[in-house]
């Protein structure tokens, strides 16, 4: 079975945006975000709706950057971290676009991009959008303890980012002239497999996901014609410090040339010296916002040529963990290529 799907008409990014909250603004990428609300509330009464509003802002920003309106979106693939993906479905309904709501935990961004890519490749749609969001306060409430609860966090715990990323992809060459972007395309992808993370410790999700990331990278290069030296970077989603250490140790042993090219979005979003985020960022907004604020601009300028991008997801629920199940990891892969 061939797992890498090569796209004959690689869909192009004609627009993208990143939206964040207070901690994201204070982080090293703060100025590269299109919009940050330092109150984290985005004018909403609840954190859950704030997450939805953040996604709506991200999509609106992306649309305005390429001078497009809602009507141009033939398919919207989006997801968030909340139960039943409710932030996305409540807030993005106003766009009136055909909608696929997906859940891949923190791997949602890559999952959305590869679903939309294959829909464009098949000819089912020509232009579509992806939106991915996570909100720290909504996630804390759902997965952990109340926001104001006074507990000590484990040093391996990660900080769910309050961030959203939105991307507009098209297979229609005539649309490229209207946008200042368009150099970056998705040339192939590999859908992730579910890999056992061997721990039920929800404060150590980076470690649980690292095995899925390692297996995806090893399997990708086993099958692909491309070598690790053909890539400028291999970027994982939100392994954080602990997960990145494990991944690099595994790659050092099995694929050393990949280890030296590794970066992790979870360690890029915050400054651990100034911000109390322990092992780094997590949440599906992490990889989405780092992709649109850090990686895509560099690809667009030609500073980077080929990037292997894998958002990493920890598949679990508070109940599954309490019942003693191990956390499962998944790491879908997309290959970003720049013609700039």
């Amino acid at each position: 079975m061939k797992r890498i799907k090569i796209l004959n008409t690689p869909p192009r990014f004609i627009s993208y945006s990143a939206v964040g909250g207070r901690e994201e603004k204070r982080g090293p990428l703060g100025d590269a975000f299109d919009l940050c609300d330092e109150s984290d509330s985005f004018g909403q009464k609840t954190w859950e709706m704030a997450e939805g509003e953040m996604g709506r802002c991200a999509l609106n920003l992306a649309l305005s950057k390429c001078n497009m309106s809602h009507d141009n979106i033939e398919l919207l693939v989006a997801g968030d971290l909340q139960n039943q993906c409710v932030a996305t479905s409540v807030s993005l309904g106003s766009f009136g676009a055909p909608f696929l709501g997906i859940y891949g935990a923190c791997s949602t961004c890559t999952e959305a991009l590869l679903i939309l890519s294959s829909m464009i490749e098949s000819g089912a749609v020509s232009t579509g959008a992806c939106v991915t969001t996570s909100h720290n306060s909504a996630a804390e409430r759902q997965f952990r303890t109340p926001l104001e609860y006074g507990g000590q966090r484990s040093p391996s715990a990660q900080w769910t980012s309050t961030a959203a990323g939105s991307f507009i992809l098209t297979g229609d060459p005539s649309l490229l002239s209207a946008s200042k972007y368009g150099a970056v395309s998705i040339s192939d992808f590999m859908i992730g497999r579910i890999v056992d993370g061997a721990t039920s410790d929800a404060t150590n999700m980076g470690a649980a996901m690292s095995f899925a990331a390692a297996q995806s990278i090893i399997e990708y290069f086993k099958e692909s014609d491309m070598k690790t030296r053909d890539f400028d970077l291999i970027v994982t989603g939100d392994l954080g410090k602990v997960g990145s250490d494990i991944l690099r140790a595994i790659l050092d042993e099995r694929l050393p040339s990949a280890s030296s090219r590794h970066l992790d979005c979870g360690t890029l979003l915050y400054n651990p010296k100034r911000q109390d985020v322990h092992a780094g960022a997590s949440g599906c907004g992490t990889s989405a916002s780092v992709l649109s604020s850090y990686l895509l601009p560099r690809l667009e300028e030609g500073e980077l040529r080929d990037v292997l991008f894998l958002s990493t997801g920890a598949l679990m629920s508070p109940s599954s963990v309490l019942q003693g199940n191990t956390i499962k990891g998944i790491a879908p892969v997309i290959h970003l290529h720049s013609d700039a």
């Binding site: 609840t46 104001e148 609860y149 000590q152 391996s156 061997a198 250490d245 595994i250 092992a279």
Partner: protein
Amino acid sequence: MDIYSLEGKKEIIKRYSPKTRILRNSVFAFIFGGLICLSAELLRYLYLWLNIEEKDALSLVGVTLIFIASLLTALGLFDRIARYSGAGTLVPITGFSNSVTSQALDARSEGLVMGLGAKIFTVSGPVILWGIASGVLYGIIYYIYLYIIR
């Protein structure tokens, strides 16, 4: 490194996961917990000085600490202190107060009955249940000692 078996992965996780700083956390807990107990003692002296009876003064000390912890929670300060103090603020009655108030604040957006009303004891529930249950058990043991063994 064995990344394909459960045992192999467990070993890798154990090797690379940072350890909780037990000594530092214990010292901080000791200092903060001690300060809370000291302030409780000072409060007791204050109430006695105000000519309140010993029994009532003790109740008032508890109520005062609960109120202060609840207020600090609502002001968003308690969790910032607790990041350092850990068990120092969690174990005394302040921790219980925080667990109830923080959950009440969180559930407020879901309404007064099904939100706040139904969820207020989610975090503190285990303490209430097992606290009462162990109280009953201790009572039975004490009864047996008092009326049967003696």
